[in-house]
Symmetry: C2
Subunit: 327 residues, 2 copies
Amino acid sequence: MHDRISSLGEKKLISRIISRARSVFGSSEVMGLGDDAALIDAGEEFLVLTSDLLLETRHFPDPERPRDMGWKTVTVNMSDLAAMGSRPEGFILSVALPDLELEFFDSLMDGVIEACCHYQAPLIGGDTNEADEIILSGTAIGRAEKDMVLMKSGARPGDLVAVTGPLGVGAAGTELILSGRDTGGFENAVERSLRPVARIEEGLILAESGLVSSATDITDGLVSELGELMDASGTGMRIYEDRLPLGREVPEIASILGRDPLELALYYGEDFELVFTAPPTGMEELSDMMELHVIGEVTVGGGIEMVDKDGVTYKLHVRGYEHLSPG
Amino acid sequence: MHDRISSLGEKKLISRIISRARSVFGSSEVMGLGDDAALIDAGEEFLVLTSDLLLETRHFPDPERPRDMGWKTVTVNMSDLAAMGSRPEGFILSVALPDLELEFFDSLMDGVIEACCHYQAPLIGGDTNEADEIILSGTAIGRAEKDMVLMKSGARPGDLVAVTGPLGVGAAGTELILSGRDTGGFENAVERSLRPVARIEEGLILAESGLVSSATDITDGLVSELGELMDASGTGMRIYEDRLPLGREVPEIASILGRDPLELALYYGEDFELVFTAPPTGMEELSDMMELHVIGEVTVGGGIEMVDKDGVTYKLHVRGYEHLSPG
């Protein structure tokens, strides 16, 4: 009788907010709504704005590493800017904190400032509050030329689908840390989990090339993000299992943990690579400019298909890493 | 040995972050740092950006009224824009939520969208997460002409100090609600507590007049905000008890609660009026354009003095509503 928000799941919850907002505001006012970041008209450019909130108990594999927590808070926001092909311009940090040791607090801030330096996005404002756990809310501000900005919509049947780097590494690292097992020999996966790097340069290359038809970042899992591009573009997608660039260490870590490596690559967030579409000739040009891995193609419709190593085609269910997931 | 952040208090904690950021970034890059909102260069204008985070258990006198919670989340952010004399342009909402009833969630969003409409700031983006309590993080975006923007710095000795409306009403309403007593007859104070209104129009009048030397909003209590203007301007302040425009109902509510009405007006947040300084001739002009109450004057230095009803001068301690307060 009294439905709860978990009965909808995160994506439908967001759609619910978006449709309410669209019913009230003009479509030119809410251009970026539903995309990775919001767009504000600033003359010849767009100001690109995004806000993401991270909680000590839910978003950090190791909450004993405050510097990494600060770094990651900036990175998840910068990754949304990267997904729009936008150049970072500044960062705002709102925190709510328990009564931390000053040394811990300073390390947290060092991580934030270190990341702000890395992304050339000065810390320009903020707010502090008290809370029972560490809550870190970031707002990233960037700029993009109006006709260059990357959106989720625009993929066309026949376009190729590509990712900017290996898949499943952040997921494998995160699961390894959470398992409490020895992480020796897997420093790269651990680093990718604790100190992910947003693909700002790659986003700028993609945007400035003018060759890309749609793009997003893989923070919620590849299949979920393909679903986003598909829904925004009104197309389908077909990907090939043997073209997925699984990270080198992913099979071994998955085996240690008794997990399916493909599941880590397809349905887990934390990769922070970009996934994008471009016509075949454009993709060819782009491959001379940057690392990219073509994993499939855009289809007319009918959801996401995967062709496995034996050539058998099956449908992928779009779930990804859904917070507030049903059931 | 291991100091905690509570040993510093909120203001010193913020100063600590600011001085770290200033040591790394150029001063032109971090113009608004320490002010009510951040400033981003956008040609002839500034983009004005602010982010505030509210928690179910700490910032809402009645967490059973989701629509009011949504409204207030937008308002506290808009109030920072008002303090800069900026026109709202958009709002971004990041939420982390427990598994709410859908009806409660919809009311929360109705409150957000209602407030966005009121302030003419479309909801342009957002993010959702799971959490154990309701966490609402807003980012407000506004615009201001470069030479018009209101800052905390700029007050000069001899300027007058004024506020845009009655003091202590939101505080009295909040304390009355929290006491669990009958609120009958005090609808105005209750409304001011649950559905405060940011002084956007007043901020725009002040900014466009070009007459104002410094300004901020009174979310953390009058004395605390006077301290902010003073510190940023390198001056002192003198205020007169008999000029403070205590809200009509404040003495009666204070008496019911056994509280000092003056304390509610001086040291409690929730008023959402603006406090500002201007030279005497400018203040005269402004008083023809809007409601304002002159409460004192800017002095050369020496902290905040209050002259009481008997003409006795004493020092006010700058504490206001400090989160993370020492001791």
